[in-house]
Symmetry: C2
Subunit: 200 residues, 2 copies
């Protein structure tokens, strides 16, 4: 797949949030950069400012923390989704999480510098504000559900819930990543799975 094919996919995905006319699109695309990450390469790292957001054309990434020498998975993003260490990007503070490619991954990047330029360019400003609003709101909704699951559900319930709605993650991720994602250890998840099989 070449860059122009990637742009077609990207434009289509963007249109869920904002629709550009041709003049706007030309300027917008001048602020994009293409890149690839080899499997295990880092998109963001602990203690470094993450100065970009990116759209995943193909591939996937894993967000993780290191705590007491242990690798704890917090989230995943797949093709057609966005990736960034958002708080770091938004605040210019060092990232608390690592983000690593799970497989060879093609990205379309918008650097903070380019985003700010677009937000200050009268031709694009309005639509970029709108785009920023809608995408932040989209992820806000995801987070709201995720926090609610930690408050109101047991680890087993969170797993059952993931079973019923999280096909892609379940099929593509090793179980110890999923365990961390659910807020428990891999050993615990294995036991939960055992319990569920026996109860069935």
């Amino acid at each position: 797949m070449d860059s122009s094919a990637a742009l077609v996919i990207f434009r289509k995905a963007l249109e869920k949030f904002v629709v550009f006319n041709e003049a706007e699109w030309i300027v917008f695309t001048q602020h994009l950069t293409f890149s690839t990450l080899k499997k295990k390469q880092y998109f963001a790292a602990y203690d470094k400012v993450c100065d970009k957001v990116a759209f995943i054309v193909t591939g996937s990434v894993r967000y993780f923390h290191i705590k007491d020498g242990q690798d704890i998975t917090g989230y995943f993003s797949f093709e057609n989704e966005w990736v960034s260490s958002y708080k770091s990007y938004l605040t210019n503070q060092p990232s608390l999480t690592y983000i690593q490619a799970l497989e060879d991954t093609r990205l379309i990047n918008i650097s903070k510098k380019d985003m700010d330029a677009m937000l200050n360019n009268p031709l694009l400003a309005y639509k970029m504000e709108r785009f920023g609003r809608l995408i932040a709101e989209h992820y806000l909704c995801c987070y709201e559900d995720r926090v609610a699951s930690f408050i109101t559900q047991s680890p087993e319930e969170r797993y059952l819930n993931l079973l019923s709605t999280g096909r892609e993650i379940l099929q593509r991720m090793p179980q110890h990543y999923i365990a961390n994602f659910l807020g428990i250890t891999p050993v615990s998840l294995s036991r939960i799975r055992r319990r569920l099989i026996l109860a069935k």
Copy 2:
């Protein structure tokens, strides 16, 4: 405190996000409504669409879920902060949480209808998009930290962390609310506190 005093406070708080000129401010304020909640009155309720966001002039609110007949506190908002069942507001879906006044509370409301009107009013559209973006981004950062705390910290660590940064919540909220907020039961929090006292 009368409405105009409340508006002064509100305008000042808003200016962290967006600054209105006088003409814009006049139109903007026409889209606001003032209201009060008596202690224990609801701002939002389970299964009802929350069709507004509000700024808390004075008072405070508690977000909670009911699960198996039990009341589980998820969050708090205090004066000078915003309150909404955001996902419900943004998506027009029924709210999953109740939001209740903890004390008599004065609010400045923006209904979804008014917000949409402003987003479609050329005089305000740009600044309202910007405002929406910045506020969603602000809460996104809060959520990012909160999710990370559930993934990477034990209940005791979350409590210690709250001790060091959450003065207002700790001083004003009963402990069983705080326990739920941390993702544990009131009995558990009481034991954690006991352990910490003994260890000291």
